[in-house]
Amino acid sequence: MTQAKNFAFGENEKMLRDTARKFLQDNLPTVKLHQLVASDSDPYRDPPCHWDKNLWLQIVELGWSTVIVPEEIGGSGMSLVALCALVEEAGRAALPSPFIATAIASLVLRECHTSPANELLQAIASGKTATLASTPKSASWLASDCDVCLADGTLNGSAYFVQDARKVDTLLVQCKTQSGLALYAVPTNSEGVDIIADGIIDLTRDQAHIHLNRVSVSDTQLLSEQACDVLEAAEPGILTLVSADICGAGEWQLQTTVEYMKVREQFDHPLGYFQALKHPLVNVMIMIDQAKSLTYNAACAVDSEPENAAKFARMAKASASEVAAYASNRSIQSHGGIGFTWECFVHLYSKRQKHNQVLYGDAKYQRAKLADLLMGPVYR
């Protein structure tokens, strides 16, 4: 009964979203995206990092980076619901940019409540970029797990599955200290930071693992001494944003495939006439709608029902991860032979979705964590 009316999606949020949609349609139509990221098809190529930095500067001017930054430190102080709507548009455009990584970093920073964190948030609001570097080699998503240690004022170790690492200015590095877990801001060009690009399926982002070898850090870089709490508090928002990306990309997959169903004919009928193709696409729509409703609900909960945020965010990401898998499957299969070619755009989205599907935990993982919340842990 404490839920916000209309998901707190009012005129301001709508205008922000509509502007973003039009901006991306105008500036990054899919044909242009394909030219940008898919010019080299060699599967054995060195991991590329294609993005349009000029486009990113325009996005900064549009104020996307400021959305969840509080007004008093230079942001526009809007809601996660608003940010969620922007990320949905980024997903719909399969935008290669540091936007989502930086938005996730902002979610983490705003939980820190320290001066260095606020300073970095302020820098982000004016265009600086950052990404979270906290995942260990095992890909455990638990906030308590990391492979970096702090000793003698230097960071040593590695972080894996770092998103868009080659596009950002600053890493948010989690590390073990003598007293627990801390979070440091480390510029990517620091001495001792080695960013090793991963070869990944997704063409619309980059991923890396990062080796830190005697990287000196000072107290001005210390974002939090309660990194585990901070990351846990930020996690519902992080899951929500990835879910929003999936919903946007899923809607593109649905609409693009439906359009093909209308124009492609076989057996003297448009393909959409055939229930074997039509009904699965209806199922895709239903799944997207479920995920989207749960995503805005989760965003809303992060904003105004923090006690329910973890639960609703698990639901959103579980639901969205299923969309990522199924919408990708149907978009390729329904396009037939064309859908199996590099020149058909559907592979760009399928690959982004397969990445989204597992990022920060797949559907089964989210459901297991949700069950722990709703049913209690498994007793043996």
């Binding site: 404490t2 916000a4 999606f9 439906v258 006439y273 229930q275 409703s293 297991a368 709703l374 498994v378």
Partner: protein, 411 residues
């Protein structure tokens, strides 16, 4: 917790307070007979009488039909039925028996009937003085509803009706029936007209009702035969040949996608209420054993239960999102999913319950040791009623693929 929803208008908040207050003081009493899982499974007059009294009381208190105009028996409010429904469900009141009247006949009368007919019929419908049923399906017109063959022949200002309707829930108790008839054999869609018919008064005089037995062994739906039934032209809604258009209003509301919110209440007793609810699966698992330990510890069952809770919560949040135009791609996209999604969730909830029950799912409602009174296996079987009736799931997917996504008609 205050009864007011955040951002709720003062009028709505006051109405909510009023409902909550009235409900806390009103006692529906204890039924003398076991109640079925829903209104369309009512088998015995004692069940009906108990529920009818509850509906009448709720109507008298202004909780039913409140969004309808005053001269149609309503309270002329706006957006209040949804609030009354929430509060009735919250108070754990029994379900309303006149579901086909409230959910289908009432909005159809409201949008298509002459004023006099509305004023005469709607108050008695809301109070459950008249029970209503629906005469749409026929043996040859199930999914292909427009293939209706029951014929109305004009005779002066009367119509003579002959034919055969099936799967008509509640017809054995009904006073009135909404009826889709063929008035022209030369045109499929434009040859249909829509009537309301006083069915009970015509029993034995042109109308006969024969019960059908469901796969569960329960009765509750019927075949209705018309043999030269004569009715007045006053009972026609909209013009001759516009029956298909009128029927769309009925079907839209049947699928939960119409503009009028259907009055609904709780489910009365806890056991029956649990059946159909994904969260109830958690307790069912905690009460069940699997392979020597609590079923609630089984990771596969936990995963299945979470899948159902997520789908159910997704559907609930979808209803919330449907009201936010800016977050919807197409105005009918969420409303037209309601029936399909709800019916499949209900079926799958029951299927997961049977998985949790394991060998105990073999036990039926006539077994005193059956977990949860055997209600889950019964609910599973009854769930096919809702995935088949009112446009089977296959038809719903056609509608969504065609009307919402714009793909070619599959026939």
């Amino acid at each position: 917790m205050s009864p007011q929803n955040k951002n709720e208008s003062l009028e709505h908040a006051e109405f909510r307070s009023y409902c909550r207050d009235w409900l806390s003081h009103h006692d529906a009493g204890t039924p003398l007979v076991k109640l079925p899982q829903s209104a369309i499974e009512i088998m015995h007059p004692e069940q009906l009488n108990y529920l009818r009294k509850w509906q009448r009381d709720a109507y008298s208190a202004g909780l039913i039909g409140c969004d309808y105009p005053v001269n149609e028996g309503g309270a002329g409010r706006k957006g209040c039925q949804a609030i009354a429904n929430q509060e009735m469900a919250r108070a754990g009141k029994p379900f309303l028996p006149n579901v086909l009247g409230l959910g289908m006949a009432a909005p159809t009368l409201h949008f298509h009937a002459q004023q006099a007919l509305k004023e005469r019929l709607l108050p008695r419908l809301f109070s459950c003085e008249d029970v209503w049923c629906q005469g749409f399906s026929e043996p040859g017109a199930g999914s292909d509803l427009a293939n209706v063959q029951t014929f109305a022949e004009p005779k002066g200002d009367k119509w003579i009706i002959n034919g055969h309707k099936v799967w008509t829930s509640l017809a054995h108790f009904a006073d009135w029936m909404i009826l889709l008839l063929r008035t022209d054999k030369s045109s499929k869609y434009d040859g249909l007209s829509y009537f309301v018919v006083p069915i009970k008064s015509a029993l034995g005089k042109g109308v006969s009702v024969q019960p059908l037995i469901k796969i569960t062994g329960e009765t509750g739906f019927n075949e209705v035969f018309f043999d030269n039934l004569e009715i007045s032209d006053d009972y026609r809604l909209d013009e001759v040949g516009k029956g298909w258009k009128v029927a769309q209003t009925t079907l839209l509301h049947e699928r939960g996608a119409g503009p009028m919110v259907t009055p609904s209440s709780g489910r009365g007793n806890k056991k029956a209420s649990a059946v159909g609810d994904a969260y109830a699966l958690i307790d069912l698992a905690k009460d069940s054993m699997r392979d020597g330990q609590s079923a609630a510890n089984d990771p596969l069952l936990r995963d299945q239960i979470m899948q159902m809770i997520i789908r159910q919560e997704g559907s609930k949040q979808g209803a919330r999102r449907a009201k936010v135009e800016g977050l919807c791609e197409h105005p009918m996209r969420l409303p037209l999913q309601t029936k399909l999604v709800m019916s499949e969730i209900r079926q799958d909830n029951a299927a997961v319950a049977l998985d949790i029950l394991g060998a105990h799912s073999t036990l039926s409602i006539n077994d005193e040791n059956a977990p949860a009174g055997g209600e889950w296996p019964l609910a599973y079987m009854n769930s096919y009623g809702i995935t088949i009736a009112a446009g089977a799931s296959e038809i719903q997917r056609n509608i969504l693929g065609e009307r919402v996504l714009g793909m070619a008609k599959s026939k």
